[in-house]
């Protein structure tokens, strides 16, 4: 942690960055995001196993953008997110300092190449319970899946916390806020919820970096991350494309290969 504090202090003092997005002490035993803009507060930064939240979500928030050039304390999934955001023209590696901590050594990932190398070397693995959920659903019949999702989604009351937590949901006007026409029913009844969640999944297909922030954010405990994980799994299986690996990758859903195959188009 020493090294991290030192680095943060240097970055702020030199004026290279104006804010450091990192983890700090939260209530109880928890950590929370902190935004440090004074060098003397650098020692508030924490780095341990509890630091899992995907902080990249703050990079595109207008309040944070206003503070100036940011440095971010990045877990592997944050690095992936940043690469994905770069590929979607939402960030430039030259406008951000990415700090990764490995065995108390802090390194700066300053360009696309170093971000990509880091991401390639740090694959994201699902916690065992997610692996189990994925397996359970995969084994269900289509009717069971229908019931499963109808039950789960029936609790959704469209608070859009998932949307706010997702670093890749950065649209300034979400599809759901569009009423000409009303693509997604406003009400949080079965149809409205279904429309919202399938759209969310389709929009994140091939983009979701599988950080799990959406599931964590959901106040009624719907495992909605599974939907976007599935969408990305389909993309990987069908087109061999994975998000968060290449800064200049074309989005899987807005590109194609002549050789793409399917068996259902007659």
């Amino acid at each position: 942690m020493q090294a991290l504090h030192q680095k943060a202090k240097e970055l702020l003092e030199s004026g290279k960055v104006q804010v450091i997005i990192g983890y700090g002490d939260g209530s109880g035993d928890r950590v929370r995001p902190v935004f440090i803009s004074k060098a003397e507060s650098a020692s508030d930064l924490i780095w341990d196993d509890r630091c899992r939240q995907n902080l990249a979500v703050y990079l595109n928030k207008p309040e944070i953008k206003k503070l100036g050039v940011p440095a971010i304390v990045a877990t592997p999934v944050v690095v992936k997110t940043i690469i994905q955001l770069i590929s979607e023209n939402q960030l430039k590696s030259s406008n951000i300092v990415v700090l990764v901590v490995d065995n108390d050594v802090v390194s700066e990932l300053t360009d696309n190449a170093s971000l990509e190398a880091y991401s390639a070397g740090h694959p994201v693995v699902f916690p065992p319970f997610v692996v189990k959920e994925i397996k359970d659903i995969a084994e269900m019949s289509i009717q069971q899946r229908n019931k499963y999702w109808q039950d789960e989604l029936s609790r959704c009351f469209k608070c859009y916390a998932c949307r706010a937590a997702c670093p890749l949901c950065y649209c300034e006007r979400c599809l759901t806020d569009n009423n000409q026409p009303q693509w997604v029913c406003v009400a949080s009844h079965a149809q409205g919820n279904f429309e919202w969640h399938i759209n969310r999944a389709m929009h994140l297909a091939g983009r979701c970096v599988e950080c799990g922030s959406c599931t964590i954010a959901c106040p009624v405990g719907i495992p909605i991350g599974l939907l976007t994980i599935e969408a990305s799994r389909i993309v990987k299986q069908e087109f061999g494309q994975e998000p968060g690996l290449h800064c200049d990758a074309d989005s899987a859903m807005s590109s194609f290969k002549v050789e793409d195959t399917e068996t259902f188009i007659k």
Partner: protein, 145 residues
């Protein structure tokens, strides 16, 4: 067993191939079931999956999506983009428990008038077997309640 159920089917087709193919079905006076209503799009690339969702929510029993064969798209690659979209959409719908047998994807060229009639008839028969669309309608009914 007699089956009197007349399914409602919407077809989303591109202007250059399938729409023209269906025109040819007409000029060749090939008969097919009356259940289908065609909506014209410039290209399959323009067809938003949300329109399919809306069609089902409004009570369609089946949907046909059709355009130019690969490499034949009037705009060269709209159908390749569409194909990717349908590959993901179909599996995603199935993951969420929606029976995608109600959606028929096809490539029908401007010369395939007979194929168009065949697609419509096969779809109508298959949907008739499946019966009225339930799962989606139930969702939208809940909305009314």
């Amino acid at each position: 067993m007699e089956n009197n159920f007349e399914p409602k089917i919407v077809a989303f087709v591109c202007n250059w191939c399938t729409y023209a193919g269906a025109d040819l079905t007409g000029t060749s006076r090939i008969k097919y079931a009356t259940n289908v209503r065609i909506i014209r799009f410039p290209c399959t690339g323009r067809i938003d999956y949300n329109l399919l969702l809306k069609a089902f929510a409004q009570g369609a029993d089946g949907v046909i999506v059709s355009g130019c064969h690969p490499n034949d798209c009037h705009y060269t690659s709209g159908n390749f983009h569409a194909r990717r979209r349908w590959i993901v959409f179909k599996q995603m719908m199935e993951y969420m428990g929606i029976d995608m047998r109600r959606v028929k994807f096809s490539w029908v060229s401007a010369a395939e008038g007979a194929k168009w009639a065949d697609i419509v008839n096969t779809t109508v028969n298959e949907i008739r077997e499946l019966g009225p669309s339930q799962e989606y309608l139930e969702m939208s009914r809940q909305g009314v309640a």
